[in-house]
């Protein structure tokens, strides 16, 4: 199953922030049921798209060695519908990151219009839940996400020169 709700990253500042885009299309089957005659992107999937954007940002900050799991939706407020043909931009920022968890803030926009504000918390599960064992392999960050980062230059938190030039 391809449970990926972002198409690519356009900006990536390691340990700080990332921007991903998603193109919404009527070829997505669920839009025909959500809702018949009035296709709009489900808000739950916007949260998932933000969780993927922010989750990859958090994972990359620790070189994908941690299993990063969405632990809490701190805030999710929606201001407008997202319809087929729309391109939405998801911007995630790391607010705090520690060995055991991270909190992020996020905004979804379409052109300049604010669509949603979504703040999340992620757990590095190997560092928490004492006594529980998880599989050795990192089942969170599989090859599935690699293509998303292919086109973006991951810039260092300290020297994000190339990326800022690229993005003007």
């Amino acid at each position: 199953m391809r449970w990926i709700w972002i198409d690519k990253f356009t900006e990536f500042h390691s340990g700080k922030s990332a921007v991903a885009v998603k193109n919404v299309t009527l070829a997505e089957e669920h839009l025909h049921d959500h809702f018949p005659g009035f296709p709009v992107m489900p808000e739950t999937l916007m949260i998932e798209a933000m969780a993927q954007t922010a989750g990859i940002l958090v994972g990359e900050a620790k070189n994908f060695t941690e299993k990063v799991i969405l632990a809490k939706i701190k805030k999710a407020v929606f201001f407008d519908y997202v319809k087929p043909g729309d391109t939405i931009k998801l911007k995630a920022q790391i607010e705090s990151i520690t060995p055991e968890a991270a909190s992020t803030t996020g905004r979804i926009t379409r052109e300049e219009k604010l669509i949603a504000e979504i703040d999340l918390m992620f757990s590095h599960i190997d560092q928490n839940l004492a006594g529980k064992k998880f599989p050795e392999e990192n089942f969170v960050f599989t090859g599935m996400f690699e293509s998303l980062l292919r086109d973006v230059l991951i810039s260092d938190a300290g020297s994000s020169k190339e990326a800022s030039e690229q993005n003007g």
Partner: protein, 131 residues
């Protein structure tokens, strides 16, 4: 800038209202985070992050809510209860909590009751005064 205990309480109250989705009148000094306000483990981390931001302080891991390091030590916990040594350690590690009732029945499952709103206020106050 010194903050009064009331000002700290107000700020802590805001943090808990946002983090736990509770009403402000539920956040009383005696309310326990888990028992009364329904906090789960991830909420503790969320609360730590929010307190750091609200007060501009750094809260080291296990300083405000130590649990794992104490509970996994057989010297401190035996047969599900804190030992005398464990209670002494609690007084040192979490001076911001009131263990006077807890020590009568120091069941590990009751440890969560020590983490009250008042304990957070006291912790923040100590932290701000030390800064």
């Amino acid at each position: 800038m010194a903050m009064s205990r009331d000002e700290i309480f107000k700020e802590v109250q805001d943090v808990l209202v946002d983090a736990l989705g509770v009403d402000d009148d539920e956040v009383t000094t005696d309310a326990s985070l888990m028992g009364d306000l329904g906090a789960e483990s991830i909420d503790f981390l969320d609360i730590v992050f929010r307190l750091e931001k609200a007060f501009g302080i750094k809260i080291p891991r296990e300083e405000l809510f130590p649990a794992e390091s104490l509970m996994n030590n057989p010297e401190f916990v035996s047969k599900g209860k804190f030992t005398e040594k464990g209670l002494t350690e609690l007084r040192v590690k979490i001076p911001h909590t009131d263990i006077s009732t807890f020590k009568n029945n120091p069941n590990v499952n009751k440890l969560g009751d020590l983490f009250t709103v008042g304990a957070i206020v006291k912790y923040v106050e100590t932290k701000l005064n030390a800064a």
